[in-house]
Structures are given as C-alpha cells and as structure tokens.
C-alpha cells in the first residue's frame, strides 16, 4: 500500500487530496504515472509536460525513482515562489 497526495490545484484535478494504492512489487515513478494517467488523464498530461514535481517520502524524485510498499508519493504543482 502506498499513499498518494495531491496539493493546490491538483486536488481539484484529481478530485481528491489523498488516496491509497496497492502495489504488488516496487514500481518506478514513471510506472506510477502511467497508472495515474489511466484514471485521471489530465494528471498524466501534466506529469508528462513536467508541470508537476513528484516527491517520494518527502524527497524530490525522478522518473526512475523506485517506489516501495509503504512509501508516500506527492504530486507537487509549481510552488508559490515560481522558479525565477
């Protein structure tokens, strides 16, 4: 079981703040994105366009970061300070 968290406008897009997902084996962030895309295509699109950062256990993750059972994955839209 992993925990998925959505913040700011992503709560509206995902229509939830948090959900739990059963995973049989460890998966990559990329594989998780594919799973999310099926239920919420708009989320998948934003992830592919790099509009969202993804953290695993409160550390920034890359597409090939491995997610294990018990991990917390968060979808982070751009922060209030922007990137400038």
């Amino acid at each position: 079981m992993i925990t998925l968290k959505y913040f700011a406008n992503l709560k509206t897009i995902a229509e939830k703040e948090e959900e739990r997902l059963d995973i049989k084996n460890p998966i990559t962030v990329d594989q998780l994105s594919d799973i999310i895309s099926k239920t919420t295509p708009k989320m998948g699109e934003m992830i592919r366009e790099k509009k969202i950062l993804i953290s695993v256990n409160e550390e920034m993750a890359s597409v090939d970061t491995i997610i294990h059972d018990g991990d917390e994955v968060a979808f982070l839209p751009p922060f209030s300070g922007g990137t400038k």
Partner: protein, 145 residues
C-alpha cells in the same frame, strides 16, 4: 535533526513579531554586529488584478524539512552566525506578514548574501502554494515577490 535547529524553523497559521524573532536570535551570540531580515507581505496587486485575500497551503513535514535544509546550508556556506525562517499558511490579508528570514552575523556583508539566497531558495524548493482571491474568483498562482 536537533531540537535547536527545529525551533529556528516554523510553518504556522499565526502571525509573528519581527522584533521577538530578532531578539530570540540575538540570544545565540554576544558577537552579532549585523542582522539582515527579509519580510514578505501580502500585496494588493497581482498582474493588474486587485487581490482581496491570499491563502497559503504547504506539504507538511516536507516543507519544514526544506526550510531546515536552507537554514543549515546558509550557516555553513555563508559564515553567518544563525538563521531563522518562519512561513505562515492559511488566510493572509493584504499587508499582513507571510514569510520572515532573519540572518545574524559578525559583519553585515554575509548576512545580506545569506538572507537573499535563503528567500530565493525557499521560493525555489519549498512546497508551499499560494491561492489568490480576486473579484473574478480564486486561483493558484506562482510569482516571485
């Protein structure tokens, strides 16, 4: 992370007193000659629109962790004596305090550099989001005050 470190970092609903934060930082050393402070406040105008209220949301634990990392790196890299960082969440009215960074040092130069770096780093790395309420509704925004 030590208790000392944690007490210099705060994400909170309540307002804070700049004077009280500075006085707390003064207690760390008798050799402080310069203190640079950055205070971010709620602006009325954003991209030409009048804002009536701001609302901040954060990713608990991760945001605090990022602020602690910024503080530690600032002390290590710039040779300041100490730094404290406070960010408010929840509703913020125009003119109210949002974020405070206090950098203390023996001399002024390093406190300016560390303070300016820390606020830029906070905005770049800390999971905090801002929602603006205007006459046309509410929107999650990015900007760089």
């Amino acid at each position: 992370m030590s208790t000392t470190t944690d007490s210099k970092i705060s994400i909170q609903l309540e307002d804070f007193s700049v004077t009280d934060e500075i006085e707390a930082m003064k207690k760390v050393s008798r050799n402080i000659g310069g203190i640079t402070t950055f205070l971010g406040t709620g602006r009325e105008l954003s991209k030409g629109q009048n804002i009536s209220q701001l609302n901040f949301e954060h990713y608990p634990k991760m945001a605090e962790k990022k602020l602690a990392e910024i503080r530690e790196k600032a002390i290590k890299d710039f040779g300041i004596i100490d730094m404290s960082i406070i960010h408010r969440i929840g509703p913020i009215e125009i003119g109210e305090n949002i974020v405070l960074i206090v950098a203390t040092g023996e001399h002024r130069k390093e406190t300016f550099v560390a303070c300016e770096w820390a606020i830029a780093e906070l905005k770049r790395t800390t999971p905090i989001w801002k929602r603006e309420t205007t006459s046309t509704g509410e929107v999650w925004v990015q900007d760089t005050p």
